[in-house]
Amino acid sequence: MSFGAQGFLLYGLLGLLPVILYILFRLRRRSLHWGASYILHQMLRRRVKERRWRQYVVLALRSALPIVLAMAFALPFLKTEGVSRKGFPHGEGSLTRVVLLDNSESMLALHGDTTRFEEARRLTEELMKGAGGGDRFVVIPLTGEVRTFVFEPPFGKEGVRRTINSITLSPSAIRMTQALELASRQFLSSVTTTRQLIILSDFAGKDFRTAEALVPFARLIRELGVECYLHRIAMKEDSNASLVSAGFGTDRLLEGQTYNLYADVMNYSTRALRGRRLLLLEKGEILQQKEFELLPGEKKSLRLPVRLTGGLHTIELRLQEDAFPLDNDSRLVVSVRKKLSVFILREDVEREKGFKSESEFVLRALESAQSSEAYRIEVESGNEIESLDEVDVVIVAGVKLDGTRLAKRLKDYVRLGGGLVVGFSPERGVSSIRKTMNELCGVELLEPYLQKTDYERYLFIEKDSAQERLLREFALCVNADISKARIYNHIRLKVVGKQAKVLMRFSNGDPALVMSRNGRGVVVFWASSLSGRWNSLVVRQAFLPLMYRLIALASSGRELPLNITRGEIFIQRIDSNRALFVTTPDGKLYRARVTHAGARSFLTFEETRAPGLYAVTDEEGEMVLRFSVSDVSDESDIRPLSSEKEKFLLESFSSRFTSTEEELRRAMQKGERRVKLTGLLVLSAVVLLLLEFTIVRMWF
């Protein structure tokens, strides 16, 4: 109960008066010489003593009376919103109601038994109810194609439902400013008495990174006298562990070798996630599982060592179900080869002792028992190479390239997808490969770190700098600790190519390993020697694993990728001229385009909107190959706005968030209803008075 004149309530203290008087009277005891004691005693003996409780009842009635009267004079009333159960409040006169419907992918997150988007659609339908002549209802989706749906009564329920159901989720980010602009136009052109703007969204933080841009439109809308309602369809405690990305670092693996599959998971929620599991499956069978924990906002890279047999594998990574299932799994197609062809190019150098060439260490390492099964190794000296067609990777150390025909051949080789691993040769110096490295690897070689190598001074490889997937195991010290190798000297360089990327650094920050794409091929440059002249890496345990990974890295350009991102064109070399068909993850069937380049044929496919596994089949339905499309969307971030952004939005729209349908109805209700209680209380006072009078006469 509330009161319009609260000052009168003080008079309620008069209700204490009967109590005080009663207590005072009871405290006073007078003595009286009595002349009718006989009658008094007879009465006391014969009659039942009055029960005190009757006094208390009368006292209570007498105390309640002034209190009730004081309350009556204080103008009491009950607040009630009187929310209508049928539709949302309509307001006075005719109505223009614009609904901005968030159809970004974050709305796919679960909301109770349904999804946020389903809830938003349902509310949109509800908001359409109760329309009358002169009203106008508009629905504007926030993402995807720019469209405005206008409904003017009379309109059928089914038609509205069909239209609203035609609005689907879109992978693109929301365009709030554009939507507000469209909404403003609707309000400017309307002549209705009441105007309402309702935004149905999860108000995820990623959508409002530039909330300041909304201010001009929000101001305009307010100046037009529009009532703004921000309805948030999200649970503050929603949790989402997202499988952001996964991969080996290459789609081509070598049989018999253990590769690390890295799955990057991110906690897009405001609370820690514990006891979650990542599953690795192939054909529905769990190959491995890994348990993990993530703090709010933490991103972690989970490593799963995998060794696969030869052939084409489709493996799946899956996270446990959570509020947003769209980003919980990833599929990878990997091709596991039985052998890899490595060509080591070297130049013989006469030495009294030691190895003959700088690439001797690499040769010895790869020729070891384990490697010989996996690698077909050829060694050539000098600048002549007969054929590199079947070679996957060429390793160069201590060979002059600049100004030679070899350099040109290698450039062509790399451009067509070949892999090149180049180590710096202290004996040959910078001039032997400067120009070639600049062209192929995008690096500008400078001067040696030390003019004179001092074996008492050395750097080490900063293992944490190895973040490329194929090299991440060195950061984790999985097989060996690469940082134990001593780097006595190295060539300093500057990364100039746009495609060049530093894969590792020395402890002084200088690039140690640089990779660059050139055409279809990959070039890797090692800034120290591949011999023991400038470092002790070649004799460390980490050398061989490093060479494996460098070879795998360099060979990744040899064939076209089997795992692409959404929107990319899938291209794959194929062997036949058969008609091929592609089935998308959402079940659509397309005919693939086959193009020919000389003796080679390539399959191209552009409809890669849907993330998931695609199947390429021939006319008879035989599987030819698979490939996967992953999503690089930040819709996984379903976390709410920060409190500052929230406050900013609410101030801009002069509104507050509602989170349930009931709250939205109440917010839209104009004012509040008051039920006056004065009459009731006055009547109560009269009743009390009559009751007191009657009881006193009856009992006393």
Binding site: F25, G35, L40
Partner: protein
């Protein structure tokens, strides 16, 4: 100080009012003097009672010649013999009669008794005065005349309430002193069992005495008009009873009414009269009212 005249006790206007009243006994009494009260014997008076046959020696002036003319028989008229009566006034002087503020029950009944005595004097009736509490505590001998009146008034004025009440014992004693029937007026607050009171007075009635009991009470004794918790100290026994009047007032009033009703019932049952007198300023009116009513009913 003894009153020198009735006006020392009763105001002149009251005395004037009293002159208009009559005291008489409902019952015929024996008396030595011829007054205005019916006697049990027939004699000379103006009130014809009955005829009897003429006997030789009867006074020929008493022969009813009209009856002879009608019946041709000689008959003699008989007339009632009016006699005066003896008034016995009994006053309760127990301590409970001292209750009251400005006008106590005792002072009230003293005035009432003065009126009655004065009335008896005016009618030339003989009267006597007794005081009692738990026994007879004072008396004046039977007599008449002005001097006797003054003497009785003096006794009235000097009497002080004290002691407890016992009707049984007091009137037992009184019974031995009053041998002739007459009129017995008792003024008391009747703080005893109704049956006991009536039982104590009944023997007088059985002897032919017209008994009137005046139950005197103070208004506060009836209403119990107190709000505070009160220590009621019995005037007679000194016993203290702590009572919250608010809790018991209704029941008390009922008890009070019941007591007087029972008392009246007992008195009527024994052929006696009972009158309630509330202590108030107009004592002469209350008493006068009763006597007038009595006159109307039985006069």
């Amino acid at each position: 100080m003894s009153p020198q005249r009735p006006s020392d006790i009763l105001p002149a206007e009251v005395l004037e009012k009293v002159r208009k009243l009559e005291l008489f006994s409902r019952l015929r009494v024996e008396s030595y003097l011829s007054g205005e009260n019916r006697s049990k014997r027939t004699g000379f008076s103006t009130d014809f009672v009955s005829h009897r046959p003429y006997l030789p020696g009867d006074d020929l002036r008493r022969v009813d010649w009209r009856a002879y003319a009608r019946t041709d028989r000689f008959v003699v008229k008989q007339f009632e013999e009016l006699t005066s009566f003896e008034l016995t006034l009994v006053l309760d002087v127990s301590n409970s009669m001292a209750f009251g503020d400005e006008l106590t029950k005792h002072s009230y009944v003293v005035r009432c008794c003065a009126i009655v005595l004065f009335l008896a004097y005016l009618q030339r009736d003989s009267f006597s005065l007794y005081f009692f509490d738990d026994r007879l505590t004072g008396r004046t001998a039977k007599g008449g005349g002005y001097e006797h009146l003054l003497r009785c008034l003096g006794e009235l004025v000097s009497a002080e309430p004290s002691g407890r009440t016992s009707f049984e014992r007091s009137f037992g004693e009184l019974e031995r002193e009053i041998r002739r029937s007459g009129l017995l007026f008792v003024f008391s607050d009747c703080m005893d069992e109704p049956a006991t009171i009536a039982g104590a007075l009944a023997p007088f009635r059985m002897k032919g005495t017209d008994v009137v009991l005046f139950g005197v009470y103070h208004p506060a004794e009836k209403e119990l008009p107190y709000n505070d918790v009160t220590r009621f100290i019995c005037l007679e026994s000194g016993r203290i009873t702590v009572v919250d009047p608010l809790e018991v007032e209704r029941r008390y009033r009922e008890e009070f009414i019941e007591h007087h009703r029972a008392l009246k019932a007992q008195m009527v049952k024994h052929g006696m009269d009972y009158c309630e007198l509330e202590v108030s300023g107009s004592y002469e009116e209350a008493l006068g009212e009763y006597l007038l009513r009595r006159m109307e009913l039985y006069g």
